[in-house]
Symmetry: C2
Subunit: 421 residues, 2 copies
């Protein structure tokens, strides 16, 4: 192998520069799907790519950005794709998504500067709308290109506040909703999809290791619940005659936590109510209804299903007390295994570059790679998150760990370019 | 006494007409302080009054509307004031507040049509911002004119979303914030304040009685809490490392309910979390903070204080688990006794007109009359609420019960006009 190395200072600089886009006064990054900051970050990426990395940029029907690496010898081969997403959660960090895009960028830039000719076409990608967002669909870009969703499913989505249709938002970002079904990736139409991402958990932090290889991606069940009680006066309605929807949600929240705490920690199931909206939401009115999400995750799908059954019983009990519910399944995504050949290449690259054997682990967060894994070879590399923090402004990964990831990715691209057809 | 009677059909018509203002597609009335619908309802009232009821309308420093009854023989006497408020909660009903304004209007219109000359000046009033609202101060108009709050306190309030200062909102409604301290009612500067209001509870409904006399008004304690945990990824953060602010609020909600349920039902204390706002409020992020109100009410202030002590202990327990809090006291309003002479006049009028002795009861809702009671004679009449419902679109009072209330008020005005100096 050539002794190519990524440029640590440049990565650092790019993380901070891209991280300015959507930065709020509170210090969090806000680049929700189709927001102005989403648009601004796309502009930054396109300008940077054209100046430093690629020969051509295209935007696909799902508004994903693709950059084409210039030095390729066997253009007829299926491409190797490397990247992640540019959007963020509200008040999120500078690393989730952005790091994967920037390391894909850095790897390509390093190859390009050294005028390395690859056999396979190499595509850098920045995916659309990976995070939950007001249009209520996550990993959007990868769902579209892997054919997990099509025009018919996507028609029903719209912005929860502005009511803009998802179709309009996609077109506004440069996509082409009308032709969204026509241009999906065919199965095995790419040689490999490679994504680097922060772990967002504490496992690497506690082991003091810089990177790990992702063997599978957690299953995620998510529902949107509307509990309906009865709004009434908070002074004059005695306790016995109340049907307080927020109190009912509070009970579900505590029951869920008790239930999950009983599972074995070594094979965890986690559950969260992260979004809740109370109506009418006034100090002196008993809440008549509350909308909220329940998110359940595990690498062990059977445990997720046990939890859903438990929730069914809880909602049944509430119904008997006069609290009705409407429950809509938003995600029912079973755990996804990633490709063993790509994982092996990531392990081998880490061993070669850094003389240590990386852990292989289940990702407890969902990722675009899970969608791509349905139609081709997908692999992921995790970078240590300090203190396991993520989806918050404190999210942080050390530049030395990031450098390790960059060099492992670089080595892996070169390795896969040789190995794969 | 003259055999004057209010006009039932006219009251009915006016309830429906005023109830159209701020009516949403969901069927609730939305006339929050300083909203367009608040402004529109004020316009309706002023036009109706000028056309049918009064000789002159003035707007005081607090933007309360005052109408002057034309036929008065002893203009030097302190006035009798009758009215209620024109604003509403979000998605509220057509009766809360509006009914009191419209019955005051009807009584005056009936007197005026018959050219009845009163000894005392009679003032119809529509008070500003009685309900909780985004400026975060309720019974605003009555607080201003009874001197409970002044310019210094009021300066700090602003709209929770638009950030408009309360001062600007008051001026926009026709008030005069700069001179708000100068024009308050002096103690005993009015002969009587009389307010009719729906009960908003089930007591009259269960007894099948049309009206009751309010002997005192509940004490209300209200605080705005901000719980601060740690926002983090809902998949990758194990249960043990979570500091979920919404889960903490859920626990407070259930503990509060358990504590209140242990009090004797005949001397009740009620408590509610009616407003809650989660941050960052996304499906896959553990809530880092939540703002919410706790509202505690009882006619027995000692029990309210016991409940506050209990809450202190709960928040202390949360603090030990890493959930910090900021608590701001919004209301600390002890129970208010209403004037016995006015109550006696209301009882006597009911007996005379309808040959039955009305109940005397504590109001479990706060009312403007509680503020006026601090500086002069105040009395209240309750009208039956069907099924006890209030602060919701189902809020309803039967027109026959409303007619009873109207005639009792009319009789009471004539009675007090003779009795009082």
């Amino acid at each position: 192998m050539l002794n190519l190395k990524v440029n640590k200072a440049r990565i650092q600089h790019n993380i901070l520069e891209l991280g300015e886009i959507g930065l709020s006064q509170k210090g969090g990054v806000n680049r929700s799907l189709a927001s102005q900051a989403d648009i601004d970050s796309r502009k930054w990426i396109k300008e940077y790519w054209l100046k430093n990395v690629v020969s051509e940029i295209t935007t696909d029907v799902g508004a994903n950005l693709w950059g084409s690496y210039p030095y390729v010898s066997e253009k007829e081969l299926a491409p190797i794709i490397i990247g992640s997403h540019n959007d963020s959660v509200p008040e999120g960090g500078k690393y989730d998504g952005a790091l994967g895009v920037l390391l894909a960028t850095e790897v390509s830039q390093t190859l390009s500067e050294n005028e390395i000719t690859l056999r396979h076409p190499l595509k850098v990608i920045s995916l659309t709308g990976e995070e939950p967002n007001p249009y209520q669909i996550s990993t959007l870009g990868s769902k579209i290109i892997s054919g997990v969703v099509g025009q018919d499913n996507l028609k029903k989505f719209s912005h929860i506040e502005t009511k803009e249709s998802l179709a309009d938002a996609i077109d506004r970002l440069g996509g082409d909703f009308q032709h969204i079904d026509e241009n999906v990736l065919k199965p095995d139409s790419f040689a490999a999809f490679l994504e680097c991402h922060i772990e967002q958990g504490r496992r690497l932090f506690e082991r003091e290791e810089p990177v790990a290889v992702v063997s599978s991606i957690t299953g995620i069940y998510r529902e949107l619940v509307e509990l309906k009680g009865e709004s009434n006066h908070a002074g004059t309605t005695d306790l016995k005659h109340r049907k307080d929807a927020l109190l009912a949600m509070s009970w579900i929240n505590l029951e869920l936590r008790k239930f999950l705490s009983e599972f074995d920690e070594t094979d965890p199931v986690v559950g969260t109510i992260g979004f809740a909206e109370v109506l009418p939401n006034a100090a002196n009115i008993i809440p008549g209804s509350v909308k909220f999400n329940i998110d359940i995750r595990s690498g062990n799908w059977q445990k997720v299903e046990q939890t859903i059954t438990f929730l069914d019983e809880c909602f049944e009990q509430l119904w008997e007390k006069g609290i009705q519910n409407q429950r809509e399944k938003i995600l029912y995504q079973k755990p996804a295994d990633l490709n063993k050949q790509i994982s092996a290449a990531l392990v081998a690259s880490t061993e070669e570059e850094y003389k240590y054997q990386p852990q292989q682990m289940t990702s407890m967060a969902g990722h675009d790679a899970a969608n791509l894994a349905r139609i081709g070879r997908a692999g992921m590399l995790f970078v240590k998150s300090v203190d396991g923090k993520s989806h918050c402004k404190e999210e942080f990964s050390q530049i030395d760990d990031i450098e390790v990831a960059g060099n492992v990715l670089l080595n892996t691209i070169l390795r896969l370019d040789k190995e794969l057809d």
